[in-house]
């Protein structure tokens, strides 16, 4: 089931100079840390002048899907939605 969250979350991200990639690594949400597993899709959207990076990923145990939004105007991360992969 997909659930809308829209809460700011703490994220540890890293940049790989070799791969030229910047990716979220650990997500801290509601007093729990989730190691980022597979990143399914990354794309960007624009809201006017503001560029947002959207990461859709699963935790390392592949139990939870998350949609993260990085607002590049203030570098704040938001957890937009989660899903357990089951139907509503």
């Amino acid at each position: 089931m997909r659930e809308l969250i829209n809460e700011e979350v703490s994220v540890v991200s890293y940049f790989s100079a070799r791969k030229r990639l910047s990716l979220p690594h650990i997500v801290s949400w509601r007093n729990r840390e989730y190691a980022v597993g597979k990143i399914g899709f990354h794309h960007t959207i624009r809201d006017g002048d503001i560029l947002h990076h959207i990461y859709e990923l699963v935790d390392g145990e592949e139990h939870l899907w998350m949609r993260l939004n990085l607002d590049t105007s203030n570098l704040h991360w938001k957890l937009e939605a989660i899903s357990d992969g089951e139907s509503d």
């Binding site: 997909r2 597979k38 399914g40 899709f41 794309h43 960007t44 959207i45 809201d47 006017g48 002048d49 503001i50 959207i54 859709e56 699963v58 592949e62 139990h63 939870l64 899907w65 899903s83 357990d84 992969g85 089951e86 139907s87 509503d88």
Partner: protein, 451 residues
């Protein structure tokens, strides 16, 4: 014995097969929207997934995953029916920005091979390899096709598969791409053309729908091989009643007739109301928002319009909307009147305007005029605004008497600039206040011009 279909025309089968090396590749992404969702969320892979316009019962499935298709869920299935067929189906709303990004990456992969890449829709491309490095280096397109499949997995994700077809023309390349879905790769050459045609049905041929199939069968053409063997003049005189008959003969023999680009004729936007209503004030606000949507696309394309068409679809009186029942008494249609389609009743009318439409305000006024004229048969379930008679715009060439128009154009350009900077619908007419996100961002299957 002479083929009766060619004998009727009194001519021999003069059309030779194109024996050139196949150089056209057709690529399409399998179950595009649902595959991209499955790529984005590994937890829904290998599960029945449907991307639907809305998640409620009356939402319509826009794309079904292969797992859902295997259960009979397809484009146009209502969400309620999909859930009945498969209670565990994952239903998602479309994410237009994500599909646009996938389209962009798909195109970037193909542009590594040649610049002659033409998008046919959001999920399919035609690549002409004539004169490309790949062919010059003597690499067969089958090898290139497998390489592209790998490249697409690298750039879009490991779950994304494509069908690749190679042929001497666009038609046969597309036919080849459909032979072994999903994840197929087939090549049609002059050597295997007849063998391939012997394995498919008439409806498997791209462009042959049930209507054309019926015409072909009525003329004694019961299979693609019969179609292939038919004389062009026979096809013209007894099947298609136009030069299309000759075009079909050429297509089937591997000659190119589809390498034409058509100029854009209309810009339209439609909105299916989640809450059906006949409240004219509410509908006026929706028409305003549709006017803004089409207006922005019109101006972005550097065009102006000479006319506007408004279409209003109603909930059928006394009936659930999902029924397939046909009402013969609703089948009449004239300008500004009702028309009955298989499922719904419509009111529609077009209007040529004395001055070109460019600014949202002008578009809205023209649309509102039509809305005022409309007779409501019931609650409205869908609205669409379409601009036609499109021409390139050049405000500087307007005469002095059109100063008012020029001012409105400048205002529209300034509003677009503000919306580009601060986000869509930042600057809007007062009637659109509090309507943010009422009309959602959508992406059309065939609409690639605004991507």
């Amino acid at each position: 014995m002479a083929n009766p279909i060619s004998a009727q025309s009194g001519q021999s089968l003069a059309m030779p097969i194109n024996r050139a090396e196949p150089h056209i590749m057709h690529i399409d992404l399998n179950s595009c929207f649902s595959t991209i969702e499955q790529q984005a969320n590994p937890l829904i892979r290998n599960k029945p997934v449907a991307v639907a316009a809305y998640k409620h019962d009356r939402g319509v499935v826009l794309a079904a995953s292969y797992e859902a298709k295997a259960m009979g869920i397809k484009l146009g299935t209502f969400v309620r029916d999909a859930r009945q067929i498969c209670p565990g189906i994952v239903v998602l709303m479309p994410d237009a920005a994500k599909y646009r990004e996938a389209h962009k990456r798909f195109r970037e992969v193909l542009l590594q091979y040649t610049s002659d890449v033409v998008p046919k829709s959001i999920d399919e491309f035609v690549i002409n390899f004539e004169g490309s490095d790949a062919l010059r280096q003597g690499r067969g397109l089958e090898v290139v096709g497998y390489e592209i499949k790998e490249q697409i997995k690298e750039h879009l994700g490991e779950y994304v598969t494509v069908n690749v077809g190679v042929g001497p023309n666009r038609f046969l390349a597309k036919l080849a791409a459909g032979l072994h879905k999903p994840d197929g790769l087939d090549v049609i050459t002059h050597e295997n053309l007849r063998d391939v045609l012997a394995t498919v049905g008439l409806r498997d041929l791209p462009g042959i729908n049930h209507r054309f199939e019926a015409r072909l069968r009525a003329a004694g053409i019961g299979s693609p091989l019969d179609f292939f063997d038919a004389d062009g003049k026979f096809l013209k005189n007894f099947v298609f009643y136009s030069k299309l008959g000759f075009y079909w003969q050429k297509r089937l023999h591997g000659w190119e007739v589809d390498n034409r680009e058509f100029a854009r004729k209309t810009i339209g936007h439609q909105y299916a109301l989640q809450n059906k209503t006949s409240d004219r004030d509410e509908l006026a606000r929706l028409v305003m928002k549709l006017s803004e949507k089409v207006g922005r696309r019109l101006r972005h394309a550097g065009l102006q319009a000479g006319g506007l068409h408004l279409s209003i679809r109603f909930v059928k009186p006394g009936e659930a909307e999902h029924t397939e029942q046909y009402h013969p008494d609703l089948s009449w249609h004239e300008k500004g009147g009702f028309s009955g389609h298989r499922r719904y009743l419509y009111w529609q009318e077009g209007h040529k305007t004395p001055h070109p439409l460019y600014a949202t305000q002008d578009i809205y006024v023209a649309a509102q005029r039509l809305l005022n004229k409309a007779v409501f048969a019931d609650r409205v379930s869908q609205l669409s605004v379409t601009l036609y008679d499109l021409q390139p715009t050049n405000p500087e060439q307007l005469g002095l008497f059109e100063e008012q128009t020029l001012r409105q154009k400048r205002l529209a350009t300034a509003a677009d600039a503000a919306n580009d900077r601060y986000g869509d619908f930042t600057v809007v007419p007062a009637i659109m206040a509090n309507m943010h996100k009422v009309i959602l961002d959508r992406v059309a299957f065939g609409g690639i011009r605004d991507l």
